[in-house]
Symmetry: C2
Subunit: 190 residues, 2 copies
């Protein structure tokens, strides 16, 4: 999606360790008008799939997920983060290893909010090693819900996380796919 | 706002300790169509104030704030939570004592995303003791930004947090104001 690629080139910053910082418009300060355009694109891609619910993870996926939910007129659930690996029996849970922060945590969803009748679209701002997305898919599977697919704003293709999830049979659509980051901070899209 | 009061009566649950659980439509599973109605009301209340930015705190304020930002066509910033009380000099920070979870944490915002030219509308899902809202006001003051006011979905009036902040000169608008919670789980609105 050209609109998002251009925004990344204009307002994104490349930090050491091939980190692309987009917190001026996507995940700290956010441009809701841009998010609405991304949401419209996810609706175009998944609108005919009978989606009943959006699932995301706190915190940086929530704004985009909320606006996708509004666009597609379905409820939005966000998985909560907790340090603890012990969780209540009322919750579905899965472990996440964060690429960006180099730590581990558990994400949880109340069992009552995902059921086997649900057709879930997973939304997130970013995918690199795919650990968050993997955990959200696992939570849907624990609930016997159908995963229609995932929509992420930005994919770091070279981190291979999205491709591993695609190889497991889950549709993953990314609106900007970063293929390479140069030593000079240049960004190439696939 | 009758729409929100009715939704609290229909789908809210009262837990021990005068906790009102609204996580089936407001802050775990969320109804974006309801959030859009709340956002329209905040726009009616604050639309003539020249708001330049929405500020909220992760995680449960983000969905509502994003949709308010969309409605008012301004950027949205969410303050991040951290356990640590040591923060980078690039951040504004303030301490929060959580009523619901009985713990303390720090909220932070990158200095570059709030400036003295900003007229900030603070948005959150809930106010009880007012600690989060107080911290967000403090962050705006540290940045010499103008606080236009705050919009919260639900106020627990008997916790007095909102009134303390009003008494300090900040406009606080709540769309459902809970005056009392009965021992039988009944909810009375002000």
């Amino acid at each position: 999606m050209k609109l998002l690629e251009n925004r990344i080139l204009t307002d994104g910053r490349v930090l050491q360790g091939q980190i692309v910082k987009v917190d001026s418009f996507l995940n700290h300060k956010m441009d809701p008008m841009l998010l609405k355009e991304l949401a419209a694109e996810f609706k175009r891609l998944y609108g005919s799939e009978g989606v009943t619910k959006i699932l995301t993870a706190e915190a940086s996926g929530i704004a985009l997920a909320a606006i996708v939910g509004l666009e597609m007129a379905v409820p939005v659930v966000f998985a909560r983060k907790t340090r603890s690996s012990k969780v209540s029996p009322d919750l579905y849970s899965a472990r996440v290893v964060s690429f960006t922060h180099g730590n581990e945590y558990t994400v949880t969803v109340a069992r009552e909010y995902i059921t086997e009748d649900d057709k879930i679209l997973i939304i997130d701002d970013f995918i690199s090693n795919g650990s968050t997305l993997r955990a959200l898919v696992d939570i849907c599977r624990s609930a016997n819900a159908t995963v229609v697919g995932a929509g992420v704003a930005i994919e770091k293709v070279f981190s291979k996380g999205a491709d591993r999830i695609r190889a497991s049979g889950v549709r993953v659509e990314a609106l900007a796919r970063i293929g390479a980051i140069g030593d000079d901070g240049s960004i190439d899209f696939v």
